[in-house]
Symmetry: C2
Subunit: 309 residues, 2 copies
């Protein structure tokens, strides 16, 4: 099987699972269902759930198990729910004030800020509900794995992770009166490790956890994902400088306009590209050392670094 076949197949199964796990009437009011569907089912790369499934797959090769994807899919959808909620809140006028996302009006443009805040809030709750609930017939012996996946995703999403990174981002952009902080190279790296890195790391880690990885395999997966997450963010910064609204499906050049610190702004384009390549090579070495080179992880790392959007 080719990498693109794995990605296309797994992505289609993720789309179906996301759709199945979305809250629906009559268990919830129609409008909240409509709003969360608008954002969750808007496409996107589905990088985070693919990381969860690919990691579960490669870890599962160490200790073959039945139904591994069935067990990892709820965590895969949970990280995508968290990612989607963060985009919804990030796009709000009080944050990045973006009106376009994936080529369509952002959620708050369609339903207003109040519903966008609430839809994001609902998605975060659903993320944890889905891991706790699905699959419903799981053996009790797997409760400890689910609990560990929930902890990993919750810490990555909260003050220690993604939200902490967003707060630093707002401060660096001068959007918090009295709390503006200038970021140097180390500060920028720290912001990205939290803002995008933490959830990418948790996406891979939760796949490893659901596949029953031992501590040393889990540590290797987290090291790998940390490098891939950083490469992803550096490439994102580069694409923002080079890109245009058509290619990215979002308002390009916004980072520079909003005075947000970026890799190209601090290191220049060439050195930024070299840094992304360094991360990518360190990631490959981690896989080799840990005996995890057999699956799709290395190919996904390539895809992340080479992507044009």
């Amino acid at each position: 099987m080719l990498l693109t076949e794995f990605i296309d197949g797994a992505r289609a199964r993720v789309e179906a699972a996301l759709e199945a796990y979305l809250p629906k009437p009559p268990s919830c009011p129609p409008l909240v269902s409509e709003a969360v569907r608008y954002s969750v089912m808007a496409g996107g790369k589905r990088l985070r759930p693919l990381l969860t499934l690919a990691t579960a797959d490669v870890v599962g090769r160490l200790t073959p198990q039945d139904n591994l994807e069935r067990l990892a899919m709820p965590a895969a959808c949970a990280v995508e729910f968290i990612h989607t909620y963060s985009l919804i809140h990030d796009d709000l006028p009080a944050m990045d004030d973006d009106t376009l996302r994936r080529g369509r009006p952002t959620l708050h443009v369609v339903y207003g800020d109040g519903i966008a805040i609430l839809a994001g809030d609902a998605l975060q709750a659903e993320a944890f509900a889905v891991v706790a609930r699905e699959p419903a017939d799981v053996e009790t012996g797997l409760s400890a794995r689910k609990l560990s996946a929930i902890l990993t995703i919750a810490e990555a999403a909260g003050a220690r992770g993604m939200v902490g990174g967003q707060v630093i981002d707002l401060q660096a952009a001068g959007q918090v009166p009295g709390h503006t902080t200038a970021l140097d190279a180390e500060g920028l790296r720290g912001m990205h490790l939290r803002k995008t890195g933490a959830l990418i790391r948790a996406s891979a880690a939760s796949g490893a956890i659901m596949a029953g990885a031992d501590a040393s395999v889990l540590a290797a997966v987290e090291r790998w994902a940390t490098d891939v997450g950083l490469a992803f963010q550096i490439v994102d910064d580069i694409l923002d400088v080079e890109g245009n609204a058509v290619e990215l499906g979002k308002t390009a050049g916004k980072d520079a306009a909003g005075r947000k610190p970026t890799y190209p702004a601090i290191f220049g384009l060439e050195r930024s590209r070299a840094l992304a390549t360094e991360c990518r090579e360190r990631a490959r070495a981690t896989l080799d050392d840990a005996g995890l080179a057999d699956g799709w992880l290395d190919g996904i790392a390539d895809w992340v670094v080479a992507r044009r959007r």
Copy 2:
């Protein structure tokens, strides 16, 4: 021991646990820690965590266990984190636009809307992290209880529960262009069952779950809490009509001004008071039938219905 002694003692232990579980530097950026502390440590009745602890206590009398409060406290703090995040988001200009809460400026007034959105987001993540993580030395056999508590709280917080209720509330108040919905008595009850009822029910249920309640005891606790939650909301509506900003520590009369449907608006004050009393009496009967009349639950129900703020 008197009810007030139980409440004062348990509340002090809840305050200490909330403080201990709050995310702190260096594991998170200072500003996000400062913002969440501002809202979480602002006092309040702590009704929801008290419900968790009181329920764990009375269920624990059926099957005596060691360290029950230690086991229930993380869930108690989780429901208070969820409640606090909902107040932060509710107070935003895009929602209720309140500038005063518990006698102090609301979080967005102090730090801006962006940080208030993020602080709420962080608290929701911390809620699930704290149940998954604490107490750290819990026997693996208790993982299933924790997982069940997480599911109960997550479903109560999300589209099916609290957020779903908030969405109906915004629609009823005419704040979602093109999606205004008028509420009759049944619709108002449905909104409250989700908006405040779901989390109050989950607060009690998670205490029962952590104490190892069987299905019939858990069902009785949920029935009891549903009635108490409804009584709580009816009293809240009544206090809003009668109250003033000094007594409530928030902007009183806002519900009427914002055209929000309330019990007094639909039923009048006298019938609303009678409805609250009915809920309170049904709740007492539930406790008697289930053999749960021994603990503090009945006293807490009294306190909820008789409160002046």
